[in-house]
């Protein structure tokens, strides 16, 4: 009998303790979201993760830099190796099931989600200081605009995502180009007003977004939107900040860590001592610089000798980008950061914006902006007075100066509506519709509004 009662008691005890038994704590590798933005250190960690993502992606195999260089007339795909998805970029026969296409799309929207998550966290935070809130908001808004900028320029009309609310983000419709651009301008303007104009947050490096970084992207966005006045105004603001930014005189130093020309650059990911860019272009057999690009340089152009290098790829002597020189063999200190925004581009933006406003010669003229770039490359300054010719020259200069950096060439060809004319001449598989990357099929199937 005693046993019976005891076992009954045990059973009862067991049942009562069930509730407690099935409650487990938060796992030791996770933090409850609401607490993340009540603490300065963890809030900083949230934005650091976004930068870490950007740094990891910049120049890697599924980056804009690497893939869009194939799409334009910058690099040739060798088809060596097992990655057949790359040759679709090169042949302009990009299919909506391409894995590298999906990665490109995913990368940007995931990053956008992280920025929205930070913006939302700050909104409800009670303990963070206003100055930190402003800084984080400014950075998050910049990165959100930055990702949308590439999505819009690669994929055409896309949804602009401003919230983490799944009821909105699960089935968003596409925004028009106008909507996207005005939202980008709004985000960047906000960002610019929230951020400080110094390098205090990043220990005097150029690895975090500040006021001028926002201004720099803003000027590019205005340029792409053909708002020449504002493009000029924003670029001027950056160019005038000479205490922080000035053109490097040595071509070899442009892509160095903390180069005076850098506006935003990203350190190598993790513990690597080299950039992804160098790894992809110098350390893999996938690509080399096209004949067309090589032919666009004047033989005396210093960029030809300083920024390209001959190497053997599949038994062929070909040229590769040599802007970044440190490959994985570098085990010493980190010498180079992956460039996102640099002053040379700002000069070229202003040159173009001014040219469009018919300001070419003399003080405050476009000439003043393009020639420092040419002179640095060991070329002579140009003297062209007609707008059309001048713009054509700027196009060529952008091609030579900004090659294999963040898809500049691809975006420029599309922006200036010369893509069809130029690529149909050199790409046998070119079609007019190849200008826009298809939205990945998997996404369209999940959200028919993307069709």
């Amino acid at each position: 009998m005693k046993v019976k009662i005891l076992s009954l008691l045990l059973a009862l005890q067991a049942i009562l303790s069930c509730q407690e038994f099935v409650e487990v704590g938060v796992p030791e590798n996770q933090l409850i979201s609401s607490t993340v933005f009540e603490d300065e250190t963890t809030a900083q960690s949230a934005i650091a993760a976004v930068y870490a993502r950007l740094a990891n992606n910049s120049g890697n195999v599924s980056s804009v830099t690497f893939l869009s260089a194939f799409s334009s007339d910058e690099t040739v795909c060798t088809s060596i190796g097992t990655d057949s998805d790359m040759s679709q970029y090169y042949n302009n026969s990009l299919q909506d099931t391409n894995a590298r296409l999906q990665e490109l799309w995913d990368f940007n929207y995931i990053t956008i989600y992280y920025t929205n998550s930070i913006l939302q966290g700050i909104e409800t935070s009670r303990r963070l200081s206003t100055s930190l809130k402003n800084q984080l908001r400014g950075e998050a808004l910049f990165i959100r605009a930055f990702c949308h900028f590439y999505l819009a320029n690669l994929f055409g009309d896309i949804p602009y995502i401003k919230t983490t609310d799944i009821s909105v983000t699960a089935m968003p419709s596409k925004n028009t180009r106008t909507e996207i651009y005005s939202q980008m301008i709004a985000d960047l303007s906000d960002s610019k007003s929230l951020l400080a104009g110094d390098l205090s947050v990043s220990n005097s490096e150029k690895t975090r977004v500040n006021k001028f970084v926002s201004a720099a992207l803003l000027s590019r966005v205005y340029l792409f939107n053909e708002d020449w006045v504002n493009a000029e105004a924003q670029s001027t603001e950056v160019i005038n900040e000479t205490s922080l930014y000035s053109l490097e005189t040595e071509l070899d130093n442009v892509f160095k860590r903390n180069s005076s020309e850098a506006i935003l650059q990203l350190p190598p990911s993790g513990r690597a001592k080299y950039t992804n860019d160098a790894n992809m272009f110098l350390n893999t057999p996938f690509s080399y610089l096209s004949e067309e690009l090589m032919d666009s340089f004047d033989p005396t152009d210093q960029r030809l000798t300083k920024w390209t290098i001959q190497r053997n790829i599949g038994g062929l002597e070909q040229y590769s980008p040599y802007k970044y020189k440190d490959t994985p063999t570098n085990t010493g200190t980190v010498n180079e950061y992956s460039m996102v925004l640099r002053l040379a581009e700002l000069y070229l933006i202003r040159a173009e914006a001014r040219a469009h406003q018919n300001k070419i010669l003399g003080a405050g003229g476009a000439e003043e902006d393009i020639n420092p770039i040419r002179l640095r490359a060991g070329l002579e300054g140009i003297e062209i007075s007609t707008v059309g010719e001048f713009l054509a020259e700027i196009g060529q200069e952008r091609r030579r100066e900004l090659f294999t950096e963040w898809g500049h060439r691809w975006l420029d060809l599309k922006r200036t509506k010369t893509v069809d004319e130029i690529l149909s001449a050199v790409k046998p598989g070119w079609n007019e519709t190849d200008e826009i990357y298809p939205i990945p099929r998997a996404e369209v199937l999940l959200n028919p509004n993307l069709n």
């Binding site: 409650e23 487990v24 650091a48 699960a170 089935m171 599949g314 085990t331 598989g429 099929r441």
Partner: protein
Amino acid sequence: MKQSLLPASLKIREWFYSLFIRQNFFFLKTPFLVCIATATGSSLFAFNSDERNTVEITTALSVNNTDKPTIDTTDKLSISGKVTDSHSGEPLPAVNVIVKGSQTGVTTDANGVYSLTVDNDNEILIFSFIGFKTYEIAVNGRIRIDVSLESDVRELKEVVINAGYYDVTEKEKTGSIVRISEKTISRQPIANPLLALQGQVSGLYVEQANGIPGSNVSLQIRGKNSLQNGTTPLIVIDGVPFTSETMSDIRSSSSFYATVGASPLNNINPADILSIEILKDADATAIYGSRGANGVILITTKKGKPGNTKIDINFNSGISNVAHYEDLLNTQQYLAVRRKAFKNDELTIEPYNFDVNGQWDTTRNTNWQKKFIGGNAKMTNLQVAASGGTEMTQYNVSGSFQRQTTVFPGENTTGRGAIHLSVNNRSKDSKLNMHFTTDYINSRSDYVGSDFTATAMTLAPNAPRLYNEDGTLNWENSTWENPLSALEAGFDSRVTNFLANGIVSYDILNGLKIKVSGGLNQLQNTDKRTLPSTIYDPAYMVTSAESQVILTSSENKSWIVEPQAIYDRQIFSGRDKIQLLLGGSFQSQDKTSQTTTYTGYPSNNLLGDFNSAASVEVSAYNPSEYRYAAIFGRVNYNYKEKYILNLTGRRDGSSRFGPGKQFTNFGAAGFAWIFSSENFMKWNFMSFGKIRSSFGVTGNDQIGDYKFLNTYSSLGGSAYQDISALIPTRLFNPDYAWETTNKFEIALETGFLNDRIFLIASYYSNRSSNQLVDYKVPITTGFHSIIRNFPAKIENSGFEFDLNTVNVNKKIRWTTSFNISFTRNKLIEFTNLESSSYANIYVVGKSLSLIKRFAYQGIDATTGIYQFEDKNSDGDITAADMEKAVEIYPKYYGGLNNSISYKGFNLDIFLQFVKKNASSHLSSFFAPGNPANQPSDILGAWTPENPTATTQRYTVINSDANNAYNNFLSSDQTIVDASFVRIKNVSISYTLSPKWINGIGCRVYIQGQNLITFTKYKGLDPETATSSILPPLRTIVFGINITL
């Protein structure tokens, strides 16, 4: 203590033998015994004989001079006899003979002869032997007891089935439970016990992910109740739930496993398994509550049996290879296709088109399939087991070793050692029963990091040779990535699996028993992947500074305690039986895994030394905790062995749900009517008839841990400028709740002609609602999915038939078993489907495995390019035009086994069949004309002169043609019939007559797996339905089994 023979003639001996033994004239024992006693001078003889009828005096007893030979009860009585197989008449060695209720027990020798001593003549002897019906006989003063045992194969009804928390006989079961015995498992040369179930069980669909030993196996019981994940049945080994999730990490795993992972069930030794029970319907699974929705698989390991120590040694060895190769282009054909493609695209051959521009020898022709997947994988198994014990304590202990290699080039081996120990004990009064089992399995494999199958298929046939004359890798002037560079990488996976469980039960009162079972499982997995710089072309001058070692260590610790009270008694003077069960379950599972990347070494020779790495990065760390508690109960009422009612229920709580949603109830009712026991149903030809039905609710919590929490976690290993990085962990959903599946089943079980024909026909219908799934969402939400309850109702229904027949039961015994399952799956309801992410994927009223594809419309007569229906008429073929619904789910599947035995010979032939559709083998290839090899059926492509071709024009880079080809692979045209009939298993064995080798039992056998496949499918294999992964291999092993 054999003595000399009687000095009588053979005739007399035969007479004695036939009189006493053959003719069963035991009722005459008294006068005859007296008679013999007189003749031999107060001695009694017992007889023993083998086939030659030699009679031996085994024991002599004194006889009193009375008319009845009473045995001195103070002395012990010696009994001897011979045990034979009733069907063949052959003597049966190693039969356990025990005295009921005592510790006395012996086994028969090679001639089937036993002798033992009993305390008095009222004892009862129990004869038991695997595969035969246990036989009890009272001694009744006899000294000679010969027994012929009946084989119990046909006695389906009497088989005791493990239903998890209780046992039930086949006859009285109310639920749908299938038992697969040791016999079925042991005749198949497989390393993963789940593979032994393929085709054997109606309603269970088992698919092998690929032919690489150790890879994952997918299981589905009665269809997909859930949409994408969580369809795996609960697997319980000796009462302890076992993980069915792979522990592989994509970063460190051999890429063999990258997509499917290694199966944890590899760490269970099939030779240690006694039976596997598959629980299908509500009646059987509701007692497992939340985890019963997908069915339950119970694995029971071997236990000891009373009797003399028996040693069993089993050794086998054999080879596996790819059974069917694909017909690919040779160099001449390949180059013709390529050149035509360049011509079609008006493209000039560039310096980097190595295969066609002459850089690669255009006269070379290599059959890459032979080079990469054409090897013979070797397999060796050794198992030594000992078992035995007394009536009160029995044990079973075994050790085994297995070694397997692959068909790929290079050294790839996996070895597994296993130890199994099982001990049973009961107290003298039989009230206290204890049972303990432990298993320890250690395995190690060093497969390299690649499945070479895709390379074998697509590498140009004129690609360069793999090795230079000096034995180094040939990089052919850096024009290719030598596929064998993958062999430079190293992989080392070590798994230890420790399983222990114990059950203690005590009979407190008449019929009331308390029982506590507990168990623990510790599974440890260490995967080390070594990527030395030598995997790269030396032209890129990669040094050991880039060499990497990636290490993943994971550990899965779980324990379970289940106290139970069982009340079991007969009422109304034995007319009815009632069984009550009340129990609780407490389970805990702690998992941790850590992936660490070591980069940069001074030399590739130091990759074994973590300390030499220049940088160490923890790439992932994942701890998780899972707690689970339940109370469950069962009421079983058996009225006159005719009507049986079985009620089960469970209240479950799981830590995988948010506060307030942790608990829920499940339950089922089962009913059986054994109508053959009714008087009005006594027909001669029908020996058994039962109708059973059940309905109930089960659930599913296979969603992973912590999914309801809104958290941030570390971005593996990365920091930015010395600030550690935190990212949102998931799209959280605090509101998801239990998913439930309502199951209904009705079945008819009938036996005819003394059960020589036994047929089970069942119909089931399972409806799942509130589906808990990883709901797919577009990445604009930041993630690919969110855990939520699916607003859909899904129905899985089907018919299952199991037929077992004994066709011939003479000297030759021939039995057949056949099973077939027809399955249907339907989406009944989906709230707001149109506006959900699944709008393009599912159709209400149609199957879930229906996939939407482009509607193929042939080849355009002018462009030579595939055409598809422009469903939305927008002038473009986009994802929106994928509206043609195609079904890929297996329509029916099953198996047919024929088993023939004659004397010592046994032959088993098992056929597996599946009726299904799958992606065409073309899906494993690129558009014809691209720089990759092709199957030969793409020859004869479209040209203006050949407008009726089935392959579009060849292309290299043409976007339209490449896009069309891509769409072609996503069209209805490339969903093809992948049905097959496979000679899954052939097993031939011969048991040598024991007298030939001095009483040692010896059986030799040949077993073949996946021998021949009949199919229309053109790829490597219809089961995996692809040509880019290694198909299930054909295996042939030879073995010998010695019993001492």
